[in-house]
Symmetry: C2
Subunit: 296 residues, 2 copies
DNA sequence: GACTAGCATTCTCGAAAAATGAATTGTTGC
DNA sequence: GCAACAATTCATTTTTCGAGAATGCTAGTC
């Protein structure tokens, strides 16, 4: 049993079909079929049920899958651990929420790059849910997500505390005015795609304001969001710092919320198990010193 | 990076040489050289220091080794887990101390085989230290060892309670007589090889009796040990049940010890992490019922 | 009920990778 | 300096792997 077989198996399990797995692995179907068959022969039991619309895992396949994932993750970590001589260097994949990336990260990344120029840092922005998944499966080394997070395989350290505020167009100078001036069902909610924690918060706030069925408008970028708010397309929920440092700051109104809704903690998460990757350690160290500055 | 490369690497690390590793892997040196070189090229750093008497791990190699071992163990477990449909069957490797194997295991194994005839059980006897290592590295599925054991990756359940007794030749009818009749430095201690817990206990007892520098005589088998005691070559420490059921029971004297020295618990250990292997579960179930009988 | 689309499997051929065995280099101990 | 041992290099054979075309199977559609 070779690792490539295991990865082929995992790809088929994930995509649910030989054809799709082949595409993902940059190869042809016949190849994938053969690898899967070889694996089944070696283990001595079928791993998939074949039907016209693809393949689904058998019991044996389901039992094998977690091992396959752990082995794949281990092999990635192994290489990093071997290469890692204690000096932070090499690739480091960090994930972040869009809002954190916009305001909090620039000074932090600058500091990190100054201290550890040998690290090739890459930054991916996504929703909290996607980021957690990314860290767990090993495609990200660490990520900034909205707390709270409780997962046995993740270590979380508090990175930033944010105050979430409701943002509307300039013309609504207070929450009361906004509530009076919008239709019964409430203003349009400008939200990020599903998986974003701030979106969940906004849903809660809307329910409390009596706007459970207000219209939703989904946007992909932070700038687009603030721009739409300024144009009075609707309202949204964002960290105060994000709005204040935005170029559109003058064109929007900020409405504070009660502490229970407003307080949100940004956590830095990393996998708890395994070797401490030096580049990641260096990053965490930067975060620590920065954090102290913020706390002071 | 393939699993076979990892296993080649581990074999070289363990044996300390290409030639010996090649022999172990049933291949030729040149092959091993190439696999190791390929692995080093892939990781981008040397894993071994070459010198005239073989190879030793570099820092990178040392960091890689634990990953290699875990990956090898995982791949073994993965196959078992996939094959395991809940019905106990297939191979099951159990380890045991020699003494436990002699007295406690025969009825247990008979019971197990009656209930789960499809399991191909293999038994290896070794010292507690070796058995713990064997279970941790995955060459054993479970083992009977002398307690106490505390290791995060092991789960231990109490299997038997033994009373350790000092055993001497027939002619010494009491401990007092033995102490009077032997030279100042004490009788010869008949011991198993290093790693045996009973040996450590015997050392403690000898220190307390004022015989810290008594002669040691190392033996490999239980029968040899009792035979030597009967022939008055020295004394040893064994569970009471072992001596009583031995064929030489009539030719030796049993001397009870204080509770602190006498009490020893035999634990059944297995890896805590990962899939519950059905055959092992079945074995643990047998142990449980048997244990109840003994306790009654 | 034939037709079609989608998907997995089978087969063959060529390329790449791994294993082999012999020759080579280098070190150590006598 | 020679014998013994160990790793590397190289040419050769063997095995495995991947691409591509053809085949077979199933379900949904007209």
């Amino acid at each position: 049993m070779e690792l490539s077989d295991i990865q082929t198996f995992a790809a088929v399990a994930r995509t649910g079909g030989i054809t799709r797995a082949a595409e993902e692995l940059n190869t042809v179907q016949s190849n994938v079929t053969q690898r899967v068959k070889a694996l089944e022969a070696e283990i001595g039991t079928p791993l998939f049920e074949r039907h016209s619309r693809g393949m689904t895992l058998t019991g044996a396949g389901k039992r094998l899958l977690p091992y396959a994932q752990r082995m794949a993750a281990l092999s990635r970590e192994a290489v990093l651990a071997a290469r890692d001589d204690g000096e932070p260097k090499g690739p480091l994949a960090i994930g972040s929420m869009e809002t954190t990336a916009a305001v909090r990260l620039p000074p932090l990344l600058a500091d990190f790059h100054r201290r550890f120029p040998a690290v090739r840092l890459s930054l991916r922005t996504a929703t909290t849910a996607d980021l957690v998944a990314g860290v767990l499966e090993g495609t990200l080394d660490g990520a900034f997500v909205a707390g709270p997070i409780a997962h046995a395989d993740l270590t979380a350290t508090s990175a930033f505390r944010e105050e979430l505020v409701l943002v509307s167009a300039q013309r609504w100078s207070s929450l009361a005015e906004l509530r009076a001036g919008t239709p019964e069902s409430g203003p349009t909610a400008l939200v990020f795609r599903t998986g974003c924690t701030y979106r969940q918060r906004l849903e809660q706030v809307f329910v409390e304001f009596g706007w459970p069925s207000a219209a939703r408008f989904e946007l992909g970028t932070l700038d687009g969001m603030i721009g739409c708010v300024a144009a009075d397309m609707g309202v949204t929920l964002l960290p105060r710092t994000v709005v204040e440092r935005s170029a559109m700051n003058g064109s929007v109104s900020i409405h504070p919320l009660s502490t229970s809704h407003a307080r949100v903690e940004t956590l830095f998460i990393q996998r708890s198990a395994g070797h401490q990757y030096s580049a990641l350690q260096g990053f965490a160290a930067c975060l620590k010193t920065d954090d102290d500055v913020i706390a002071a």
